[in-house]
C-alpha cells in the first residue's frame, strides 16, 4: 500500500532528480557557450581533415571504419551542441591571420540555421553509419581515402555555408561545397558516363556561382555591406540583383529549366553522396533563398510570380520524367526536382501572401517550405541509401534487371517501402504533414485573397498538386513493385543478399525519424514558427485546424493488427503457382516491365515526353505465328536537345573563335598586358 509519506518521498525524489538534471544541463550549456567554440571546432575539423588526408589519403584499400566513426561522432556532437544552445544567437568573427582576403570570415548561427544544421547533421550521421559497408562493396572502383577526404570537406563546407553571416564567407564556403561535391560525383571516374556527368554538374555549379557573385557584388554596391542582415530587397533598384541571386539559387536547387544537372549527377555519384546531395545540398539553396530573399523581404511581385510558376512546372516536370525512368537513382533524382519545386512553390506563395497582407497564409506557407525541406531531406536520403544497398548487393539498379528482391532483401524492402509511402505523402507519415500544410496555405489563399485571378491560380495549383500526388504514387509503385516484388528479371537480382547491419541501421534510423515527424504536426509547426520568428520574420499564427494524424496512425495500426489476428491469421493457406491461364509456368519475362507499367500514363503526356512506342511483329503469318517481335520505346528530353545543346554549340563556337587570342606567343601577351594597363589608366583618369 502506498501511504501519504511514501508519495511525498517519491515526489521529492522526482523533484530532486529533475532539478539536478536541469542544473547540469544549464551548466553544460553555459560551459559550451563560454568556450571559444568556433575556433576550436573549425580548427578541430580542419585538423581532422588534414589527419585523414595525411594518414589515409594514399591508401586505396582504406578501412572505412575510423573515418566513418569520426564523422558520425562529430555529427552527433553537432546535434547535441545545436540543441543545447537552442534559442541563442551565436556570432563569431575570425581574427587577424585567418582572414578571407582583407575581410574577416563571419559566422552566425540562429534558430533558422539551426533547423537546417540539425537536418544536415542527422543525414550525415546516418550516412556515416551506412558508408563502411557500402564503400567495401565499391572497393576497387573508388579510392576510399579520397572519398573520405572529399566527404568530410563536403560536410564541413555545407555546415559553413549555412552558418555564414556575410556574402564573402558564404561564397567561399559555397564554392568549397560545390567543388567537393563535384569531386565526389567523379569518385568513380573511370567510366566515361561519370566523367560526362561530373562535367555537366561542374558547369552547372560554375554558372550558379557566377550569378550569385554578380548578385552579391551588386547588393554590396547598393547597401555598402557584405552582411546578409543589412540587405533589403524592397527598393526597385534591388530587383535586378535579386533576380541574379534567384537564378543562382534556382540552378543549384534544380528548378526547371535549370534542372538538367540533377539526373546526371545523382546516378553517377556513390549512393551515400547522392543521399547527402539530394537530401541536403539542394536544401542549401532553399536556405539561401529564405535567408537572403525572404528575410530580406523581397517584394517584387513579378519576380515572385515567375518563381511560383517555374516551381509549379518543375514539380510537375520532375514527377512526369520520374515516371519513365528505368534507373532507380535517376528516378529518385527526378523526384527530387518535383519536391524542390513544391518547396519553392511554398516559399513563393508565402512571399506573395505577405505582399498582400495575408499573414496567415504567409505563415503557413513558409512553415510548409521549411518542414518539407526537412521531410524531403530525410525521406530522400533514406531512399538513396536503400537504392545504394540494392546497388551494392544486386550489382544493378536498372529496373529492367531487378525484381523479386523481397525474398532476399526483406529489410531493405521495408525501408524502401516506408520511404516511398512517405514521399508519396501518404498519411500518417511525415511527407503528408508538410504537403498538407502546403495544401492548407493554398486553400486559405483561395478563401482569403481578394484578387479573382489569384484565387483561380491557387485552385489550379491545388488540382496540380493532387495530380502530382497521383503521379508520384504511380512512380513509386512502379519502383517498389518492379524492383522488389514479382520474379527476378536477371540472375543478378536472384543472387542478391541482404545488406549488412551498418547499412540497415542507417536506413532504420531515417525510417524511424520519418514516422516520428509525421505523428504530430502541431508541435513541429510551433517549433518551426518560433524559430523563424526569432530570426526577424514575424510568424505568429497558429494552425486553425489540426490534423488527427496520431489518432489515424494508431487506428490504422490497431485495426490492421486486429483484422489480421481475427481473420487472416487463422485461415488455411495453400501455396500454389501464380495463375497462368493453364499455359504452363510463367517466366520472369512474362511480367510487366518498368516501361510497360508507365506506358498508359506516358501515352497521355506524349507531347511533353516526346514519347514514342513502336512495335513490330514480323513473320509469314504474323498474326498467329510471329517470328520476331520488337518493341522499342523512345523518349527524348526536349529541353536538352532543342535548347541546351544548340546553346552550348554557340558558346563552344564563340570560345573557339576567342581562342585565337591565346596564340601562345609571349610577345602578343606582352601587348595585351600593355593595352590593358593603358585602358585601365584611361578609365581611371576619366572617373
Amino acid at each position: 500500500m502506498l501511504n501519504n509519506s511514501t508519495i511525498c518521498a517519491i515526489a521529492k525524489l522526482c523533484k530532486y532528480c529533475y532539478d539536478n538534471t536541469r542544473e547540469t544541463f544549464l551548466q553544460a550549456r553555459e560551459l559550451l557557450l563560454e568556450l571559444p567554440n568556433f575556433e576550436i571546432s573549425i580548427i578541430g575539423a580542419l585538423a581532422g581533415l588534414l589527419s585523414v588526408a595525411i594518414l589515409w589519403g594514399n591508401q586505396k584499400q582504406l578501412k572505412s571504419g575510423i573515418p566513418a566513426a569520426l564523422s558520425c561522432l562529430s555529427a552527433v556532437a553537432a546535434i547535441a551542441f545545436l540543441t543545447v544552445t537552442w534559442g541563442k544567437e551565436l556570432d563569431w568573427q575570425s581574427r587577424s591571420p585567418f582572414l578571407l582576403g582583407v575581410f574577416p570570415a563571419t559566422f552566425k548561427i540562429d534558430d533558422l540555421g539551426r533547423l537546417y544544421l540539425i537536418l544536415l547533421s542527422t543525414i550525415v550521421s546516418t550516412v556515416s553509419i551506412f558508408s563502411p559497408g557500402y564503400i567495401n562493396h565499391l572497393s576497387g572502383k573508388i579510392h576510399a581515402g579520397q572519398y573520405w577526404i572529399c566527404f568530410l570537406l563536403f560536410t564541413f563546407s555545407m555546415f559553413a555555408v549555412v552558418s555564414s553571416a556575410d556574402a564573402i564567407t558564404f561564397l567561399v564556403a559555397w564554392e568549397l561545397m560545390s567543388l567537393a561535391s563535384v569531386a565526389l560525383v567523379a569518385a568513380d571516374h573511370s567510366h566515361q558516363a561519370v566523367q560526362k556527368s561530373a562535367f555537366i554538374y561542374l558547369g552547372a555549379t560554375r554558372v550558379a556561382s557566377a550569378f550569385l557573385c554578380g548578385g552579391f557584388l551588386w547588393m554590396h554596391a547598393l547597401s555598402q555591406s557584405w552582411s546578409f542582415s543589412d540587405w533589403v530587397f524592397t527598393a526597385e533598384s534591388s530587383y535586378f540583383p535579386a533576380l541574379l541571386i534567384l537564378l543562382g539559387v534556382c540552378i543549384k536547387a534544380g528548378i526547371w529549366p535549370f534542372h538538367i544537372w540533377l539526373p546526371y549527377a545523382h546516378p553517377a555519384a556513390p549512393a551515400t553522396v547522392s543521399a547527402i546531395m539530394s537530401g541536403f545540398m539542394i536544401k542549401v539553396a532553399v536556405y539561401a533563398f529564405i535567408r537572403i530573399l525572404v528575410l530580406g523581404s523581397l517584394n517584387c511581385f513579378w519576380l515572385i510570380a515567375i518563381v511560383f510558376a517555374l516551381a509549379a512546372v518543375s514539380a510537375f516536370w520532375g514527377v512526369l520524367f520520374a515516371l519513365v525512368q528505368n534507373d532507380l537513382k535517376k528516378l529518385l533524382a527526378y523526384s527530387s526536382i518535383e519536391n524542390i519545386g513544391l518547396i519553392f512553390m511554398a516559399i513563393a506563395l508565402s512571399l506573395i501572401a505577405r505582399l498582400h497582407g495575408l499573414s496567415e497564409v504567409a505563415d503557413i506557407a513558409i512553415v510548409a517550405a521549411i518542414f518539407h525541406s526537412w521531410n524531403h531531406g530525410l525521406i530522400k536520403s533514406l531512399l538513396f541509401l536503400s537504392v545504394g544497398s540494392v546497388d551494392a548487393h544486386a550489382h544493378t539498379r536498372d529496373l529492367r534487371d531487378l525484381g523479386g528482391l523481397a525474398k532476399c532483401m526483406p529489410w531493405t524492402m521495408t525501408f524502401f517501402f516506408a520511404g516511398s509511402f512517405a514521399i508519396c505523402s501518404i498519411p500518417p507519415l511525415n511527407g503528408f504533414s508538410s504537403k498538407w500544410l502546403l495544401y492548407q496555405s493554398l486553400f486559405q489563399n483561395v478563401i482569403q485573397c481578394s484578387s479573382v485571378i489569384e484565387k483561380g491560380v491557387s485552385l489550379a495549383a491545388i488540382c496540380l498538386l493532387s495530380a502530382i500526388g497521383a503521379l508520384a504514387v504511380a512512380v513509386f509503385v512502379k519502383a517498389m513493385g518492379v524492383a522488389f516484388l514479382g520474379l527476378a528479371r536477371s540472375s543478378l537480382a536472384s543472387h542478391a543478399k541482404e545488406a549488412d547491419f551498418g547499412m540497415l541501421a542507417g536506413q532504420a534510423i531515417l525510417t524511424t525519424l520519418c514516422v516520428a515527424l509525421g505523428a504530430n504536426t502541431d508541435i513541429v509547426f510551433r517549433l518551426i514558427s518560433n524559430s523563424i520568428s526569432s530570426c526577424g520574420l514575424k510568424v505568429d499564427h497558429v494552425l486553425s485546424n489540426s490534423l488527427p494524424s496520431e489518432l489515424v496512425a494508431i487506428l490504422l495500426v490497431g485495426l490492421s493488427a486486429f483484422i489480421y489476428l481475427v481473420a487472416l491469421k487463422t485461415s488455411k493457406v495453400r501455396t500454389y503457382k501464380t495463375w497462368d491461364c493453364g499455359f504452363g509456368s510463367l517466366s520472369p519475362k512474362a511480367q510487366v516491365t518498368s516501361d510497360s507499367f508507365a506506358q498508359p500514363l506516358a501515352r497521355i503526356f506524349r507531347p511533353f515526353l516526346r514519347y514514342e512506342n513502336v512495335s513490330m511483329i514480323e513473320g509469314q503469318d504474323r498474326r498467329h505465328f510471329p517470328e520476331k517481335v520488337t518493341v522499342e520505346t523512345r523518349m527524348a528530353s526536349i529541353l536538352e536537345k532543342r535548347i541546351y545543346l544548340p546553346g552550348l554549340a554557340v558558346i563552344a563556337g564563340l570560345a573557339k573563335w576567342l581562342a585565337r587570342l591565346q596564340a601562345g606567343s609571349i610577345h602578343l601577351y606582352l601587348v595585351y598586358v600593355c593595352v590593358t594597363l593603358c585602358l585601365l589608366l584611361l578609365v581611371g583618369m576619366a572617373l
Binding site: L459, S466, A470, G481, L556, R574, T575
Partner: protein, 312 residues
C-alpha cells in the same frame, strides 16, 4: 439520438449498407435483363461462403499481398468513420479534405502493390491502368470537395456538411454540381462502368477485378467488402450533397433525414445498375474525355463557390 444509439446504427449501416448496395445494383441489372435475379442479401451469403473457404496464394508472393487486404480494410473503416456520408454518424475527429483524399491514396497504393506482388501480367497491367485512372480522377474529386470547402470557408468535412438553415439558389448549384462530380468520379475510382466492366469475362481488359485476381478465401472477402464499403461511402457523400441542395432539408426531422439519406444511396445504386445495363464500356482512349466531363462539373462548382464569395 443518443451517442450510443448513433454508434449502434452506424455499425449496422457499415456492415449492411455496402452489401445491400451491391445487391441492389445486381438486382437492377437482373430485372433489366428480364431475370428475377439473386436476393438482395446475396452479397452477404457470397462473403460468408468466401470467409469459410481456405486461401490459395502464389509462391511468388511476399508478405505485402496478405497485408494489403488487412490495411485496406482498416483504412476504409477509418474513412467510413471520418467522412460524413451518413447524417446520423457518431462523433468523429476532424476530417480534413486533403487527409481524406490521401487516405484513399493509401488504400490504392497497397492495392497496386498487391497486384504487382504475384508477378502476373494480369495484375500488373491492371495496376498500371488503375494508376492512370487515379491520376485522371483525383484532381476532379479534390476540386469538387475544395469547392464545397471554399463555399463554407473550411477544409473540415464536418463543418462543410453541418446543416446550415438558409439555403440559396447559388448554394444549391454548388451542392448539385459537386454531388454529380462525386457520383461520376466514384464510378472511375471504384472501377465500374463506363470505365471498367466488373462483370466481363476477360481479365485483360479489367481494372479492379484483375488486380485482385490472385486473392481468394478470406483475403478476397475482406477486399470485396472494403470495395463495397468504399462504394457506399462515395454514394452516401454524394447523397448528402444532393440532400443539401433541397431548400428545407435542415428543417426536416432527424429520422426522416436518415431515411432520405439511406434512400438516396439506394437510388444511386439503382442509377448505377441502369447505367451498367444501358451503356457500353468506353474505349480506353476515351476515358480521359469522360473524366474531362467530371472535371468540368467540379470546375463549375468551384467557379460558383469562388464567384459567390467574391460577390459577397
Amino acid at each position: 439520438m443518443t451517442e450510443l444509439f448513433r454508434w449502434l446504427s452506424f455499425i449496422v449501416c457499415v456492415i449492411f449498407l455496402p452489401l445491400l448496395t451491391i445487391g441492389t445494383i445486381r438486382k437492377t441489372k437482373a430485372r433489366l435483363q428480364n431475370r428475377i435475379g439473386p436476393p438482395l442479401l446475396q452479397p452477404l451469403f457470397d462473403l460468408t461462403k468466401l470467409y469459410r473457404k481456405g486461401e490459395t496464394i502464389s509462391d511468388t508472393m511476399s508478405g505485402v499481398f496478405r497485408l494489403t487486404s488487412v490495411t485496406v480494410m482498416a483504412d476504409v473503416m477509418i474513412l467510413a468513420w471520418l467522412i460524413p456520408w451518413l447524417c446520423f454518424k457518431p462523433w468523429a475527429p476532424e476530417a480534413d479534405i486533403f487527409m481524406v483524399i490521401y487516405l484513399f491514396a493509401f488504400a490504392r497504393m497497397f492495392t497496386l502493390l498487391a497486384a504487382l506482388d504475384a508477378g502476373s501480367a494480369f495484375g500488373a497491367f491492371s495496376a498500371s491502368r488503375e494508376a492512370t485512372l487515379s491520376l485522371l480522377v483525383e484532381p476532379a474529386i479534390l476540386l469538387a470537395l475544395v469547392a464545397l470547402g471554399v463555399f463554407s470557408q473550411s477544409s473540415d468535412l464536418r463543418v462543410i456538411f453541418s446543416l446550415s438553415p438558409h439555403q440559396t439558389f447559388v448554394s444549391s448549384g454548388i451542392w448539385i454540381a459537386s454531388g454529380m462530380a462525386i457520383v461520376f468520379s466514384s464510378l472511375v475510382e471504384l472501377s465500374r462502368m463506363p470505365v471498367d466492366d466488373p462483370t466481363t469475362h476477360l481479365e485483360l481488359t479489367m481494372v479492379h477485378e484483375a488486380m485482385i485476381l490472385e486473392a481468394s478465401g478470406r483475403n478476397l472477402a475482406l477486399i470485396e467488402f472494403a470495395q463495397s464499403l468504399k462504394m457506399s461511402i462515395f454514394f452516401g457523400l454524394a447523397t448528402q450533397c444532393f440532400l443539401r441542395a433541397l431548400p428545407e432539408f435542415s428543417l426536416i426531422g432527424t429520422y426522416f433525414q436518415a431515411a432520405l439519406n439511406i434512400g438516396g444511396i439506394f437510388i444511386l445504386a439503382i442509377f448505377v445498375g441502369l447505367l451498367e445495363s444501358l451503356t457500353v464500356k468506353l474505349q480506353w482512349r476515351k476515358v480521359p474525355e469522360f473524366v474531362a466531363y467530371i472535371l468540368s462539373m467540379s470546375l463549375m462548382a468551384a467557379l460558383i463557390a469562388v464567384g459567390s464569395r467574391v460577390i459577397k
